[in-house]
Each structure stands twice: as C-alpha cells, then as structure tokens.
C-alpha cells in the first residue's frame, strides 16, 4: 500500500484552503492535480532549456528534443507499445479521437459503412464519429447498456455486419466510472476483422494498460487526467494503421518535402505531429508517468479500490441516495442524486463545505437520457484522497439533506 500522508505532501493544491479548510478534491475525472515534481519539471524546462525541438543544431534545442523523445519513450514503456513511433503526441483525448475519426475515415469509410460505439460514451467519442459519418454517408450503431451501467456484450455480437469498419468504446465511462470489458470487446471485434479504438481518458490513470496484450488498435488518453499538464495527450496506434492512414493536421515537421504540387509526408510519429508540439507539456507528462511508476501503479490501483469499497459502503447509508452505475466493475467514481434535491443545489452546498464535485451531464447526455435524468452529482476520487475525506463528504451529504429538507 501507499504512504498516503507522504503522497498528499507531493500535491501542493491539496494543501490549499478554499473557504475554511483544505479542499476535498473529488473532481478527478474532470482533471487531476499535479505532483510538485511535474510542476518543477515544467519550471525547469522553461527556465533552463526551452527551445524548439527537432532539427535545431544548438545545445538547447538538442536538450529539449532529447527530453521530448524521452517522454515518448517513458509512455511507450508505460503502455507497452511495440515501438516508440506508435506513440503520437496530441493535445488531448479529444484530439486523439478526432485524428482517428478523420484519418481512418478518409482511408477506410465509404457510403453506408458502419461505426459501432457504445451507449455510454463521452461526447468526445461520439461527435467526431457522427461528423465523419455524416461526411461519408456512414452510420453509427450503438452497443446498449444494462441498467447497472455494464455494456450488453451479448448484443455487440449482433451489431456486426460486413459494413462494420471500426468499434470505439471507452475503457472506463466518465459519468459512471464503469470499467468496460475491453479485452472481450477487442476479441469479438477482431474475430470480425474490425479494429478497435479505446477511449482511455478515464482508464489509463486507474487501470493497468498494456496495449500489446490488449491488442487494441488505438488507445487515446489525456495528460491532464493522469497528473500531467494541460494541452497534451497521447494517441497510441498500431504502426500498420498509422502508416496507412493519411495525416489529420498538417504543417511544419510532418512533411519530408513540400512543393506547391506535391507533399511527401514524414515518417512516424512526426507524420501526425504537425506544427510545434506542446513539447513542455509532453516533458511534463513524462514526469507525471515517472512519478506514478515510482509509487508503483499497482499500489495506486489497490489503494483506489480500497477507497471505492469504503465510499460505496458509507454512502449507501445516506437516506434517499440513488447511485447511477451500480456494477461491480468500477473505479472510484460515485455518480448519484439525493432524493428531491437537484444536483446543482447539492453541488453548490458541497462547494461551500470545501468539497469539489462535478454536477451536470458530464459531457454525456446519452447516458443521462438513458437514465431519464438531467444530470448527477459525481464524486471522482484518486489515490491522494483519503478515508477521512470520505467521512467528511458523507457527513456533508447528510447536512445537505437537512438543509433542503
């Protein structure tokens, strides 16, 4: 297990008082806090080495390029990709998915083709596919979910046709915290010769990810949700696809030769990294992943699971509470409503008690529609949260109930 007191000291924001006491930060699914080492790394690179990467002949440029490519190596190892050039830096999960929707779409999707997504996707894994399908005259098919938030895998099998070109599901759903059986989904899809994109925005920081073992074709995630900086993300893609697809963004660095008549694209990974990358962001993300590795990701996941059991048990005692996503396969996210109290009212009151939660539809309207509600209160925890915070949170919920009674 982890030394929670030591870990909390690594995160300066957790020491911040909001109104009366240090914040109870339960909004980790929206974005995570950064350990001091990540902030220091960003600082250091701006103060000592900042310089544009690649093709620079000077010392600073070489230093920054090395650090940038080293970050790629760290990520490659963390997700166990086969090659470093299968790790593409993007600005976040949303851009990673847009990249695949565009580039895969341009290459492989024709009129009447079909894309399979699930009922419980984040808008970032719905709208890019919709837009591409609209452009191409293709269709979206939806894997249904069961009431407890699990996907209906039996139904998936029936969705395939010879027009199915790609399957796109999240590793963990953001509004409910449900862990999807992605191994199985990938297996089934591959048995139909259909590649799979995993939206790992909520997966990478709470679950082991081995892209080689998973055999997924694409895996997308955001730096800011895994204790790294904003504005940086990753797309892992199998070499084969990355080689075959046309680029998404274009511009500097992603080409070999340009004339006004014709342009020859650069090798991987640069083909997909047009323009000046967020190199300081990438270096910061590398530092974040190193930080996780130092603690040991299994230690983190074990501790988070303990928190999940504790909070689930505790919160179930609050009278009138209703949890959305009751499956056992979940990360430490509690999406809920208290009877007769609007999620907004709950959120505002918790804020006044120095508890940060998210309220609303969580960029996940189809999920809300599925439950016939407008939104929920979502408490999403991370390994720097504590049992004591959970106790205080549950007490506060009881107080909210009293206030609105």
């Amino acid at each position: 297990m982890i030394d929670i007191q030591a870990i909390r000291k690594d995160f300066p924001l957790l020491q911040q008082k909001i109104y009366n006491r240090p914040v109870v930060y339960f909004d980790n699914a929206a974005t995570t806090q950064k350990p001091q080492i990540v902030i220091n790394t960003i600082n250091e690179y701006y103060q000592k080495y900042n310089s544009n990467i690649h093709r620079g002949v000077h010392f600073l440029s070489e230093k920054t390029t090395e650090a940038y490519e080293n970050a790629r190596q760290i990520i490659k190892n963390y997700i166990n990709a086969s090659f470093q050039h299968e790790v593409i830096f993007t600005s976040g999960t949303t851009e990673s998915i847009n990249l695949v929707a565009f580039s895969f779409g341009e290459k492989y999707i024709k009129q009447d083709d079909e894309v399979i997504i699930s009922q419980l996707e984040h808008h970032s894994n719905i709208v890019p596919w919709q837009m591409m399908c609209e452009r191409k005259g293709a269709k979206i098919k939806v894997i249904p979910a069961t009431y407890n938030g699990d996907l209906d895998i039996a139904a998936l099998e029936r969705l395939f046709s010879d027009k199915t070109k790609i399957v796109c599901v999240n590793h963990v759903s953001n509004s409910l915290g449900i862990i999807n059986p992605i191994e199985k989904i990938i297996q089934i899809s591959h048995s139909h010769n259909v590649p799979v994109l995993i939206d790992g925005a909520q997966g990478i920081q709470h679950q082991p990810v081995d892209v080689n073992k998973l055999d997924c074709d694409f895996y997308a995630f955001s730096g800011h949700k895994i204790y790294g900086p904003t504005g940086i993300g990753v797309l892992y893609g199998k070499e084969k696809w990355l080689n075959e697809m046309p680029p998404y963004k274009s511009g500097g660095n992603m080409i070999k030769t340009v004339t006004f008549e014709k342009t020859i694209y650069n090798d991987l990974p640069f083909k997909y990294e047009a323009g000046t990358s967020n190199f300081i962001g990438a270096i910061g993300l590398g530092a974040a992943i190193k930080y996780i590795e130092n603690i040991g990701k299994q230690n983190i996941f074990d501790y988070e699971e303990m928190l999940l059991h504790y909070v689930s048990e505790k919160i179930s005692k609050v009278p009138g509470i209703r949890i959305y996503g009751t499956s056992d396969n979940k990360i430490c996210v509690i999406s809920f409503l208290i009877e007769n109290i609007h999620h907004f009212d709950t959120g505002i009151m918790l804020d006044k008690m120095d508890i940060a939660v998210r309220t609303g539809n969580h960029c996940n309207q189809p999920t809300m529609k599925f439950y016939g509600i407008e939104g929920t209160v979502r408490a999403s925890l991370s390994f720097y949260n504590t049992i004591e915070e959970i106790d205080y949170f549950v007490e506060s919920l009881l107080q909210v109930k009293k206030i609105f009674a």
Partner: protein, 141 residues
C-alpha cells in the same frame, strides 16, 4: 421604491447573516415563498436552458410596467429569482433598461450570476432586459 432602494434593502437584510449557511437557508426560504408561476407557462417557449439548471420566464406588460414571473428546477436558483423579482419586476421599461444589479455582489452571491455557472440566471436577466428594450421601442417610452 426605486430599484436601487430595493437593492439597498436586500443588502441590509443580508447583513445580519454572519455565514454562508444562514444566507443559503434564507435563499431556501425565499424559494419556498416564490409563487405565481402558472403551470400553463411551464412550456418550452418560456424555457431558458442552462447547463446546470433550467429557468422558466413569463413576462406581462401592464399599465406601462413589466411584470415577470419565473421558476427554476433548483431551489437555490429559485431563491435568487425571488430576489431578482423584488428588484426588477413591476418596473417601467426605462427603469429596467437602466438598472445595474449590484446587490448580488454585495450580498456575496456573485457565483450565482457568474457566467461560468450557467444556471440560467444570466440568460434570464438578459432576456428581461431585451423585453424592456422591445417595449420601450414599441411604445416609444
């Protein structure tokens, strides 16, 4: 009383509260007292959809004055609506157009009018101001 006088009155009322809890308890009280929104007006046409909560707004023009009724699905927004009605309803278009709402800030509830919250209140006020401008132009007053 003028709009500013009412605002001063509200600020004074709130000045007795020593912490946020008392303020919010009072807002909740106000929300319970908020009456007058007829069921028949709870229609899509009157709906202002915020990202966090919804507001319904119904406006009447009577004797040169704008009267409005509003409701919300959240209690705290409803409490705020009660205050806004006290300040802005039953006023001439001229008064509404020129009104500056400074009381929200003074009583420490700015967050409820923050554009980042998207609870429908800002859109509601905008909508009321637009009505005022429209009536002012229409009746040339």
């Amino acid at each position: 009383m003028t709009i500013d006088q009412i605002q001063e009155q509200i600020v004074e009322e709130f000045s007795v509260f020593t912490d946020w809890m008392e303020k919010y308890t009072y807002l909740i009280e106000l929300s319970k007292e908020l009456q007058g929104f007829k069921e028949e007006f709870r229609i899509n046409q009157n709906l202002i959809k915020g990202c966090q909560s919804q507001v319904w707004l119904q406006v009447e023009f009577k004797n040169g004055k704008i009267i409005f009724y509003a409701d919300s699905d959240t209690v705290l927004t409803k409490g705020m609506i009660a205050l806004l009605i006290r300040v802005l309803s039953n006023r001439t278009p001229e008064e509404i157009v020129n009104a500056k709402l400074w009381f929200v800030d003074k009583i420490g509830l700015t967050t409820h009018l923050s554009p980042t919250r998207s609870n429908g209140l800002i859109s509601m006020i905008k909508q009321i101001k637009l009505y005022a401008i429209a009536y002012k132009t229409k009746y040339n007053i």
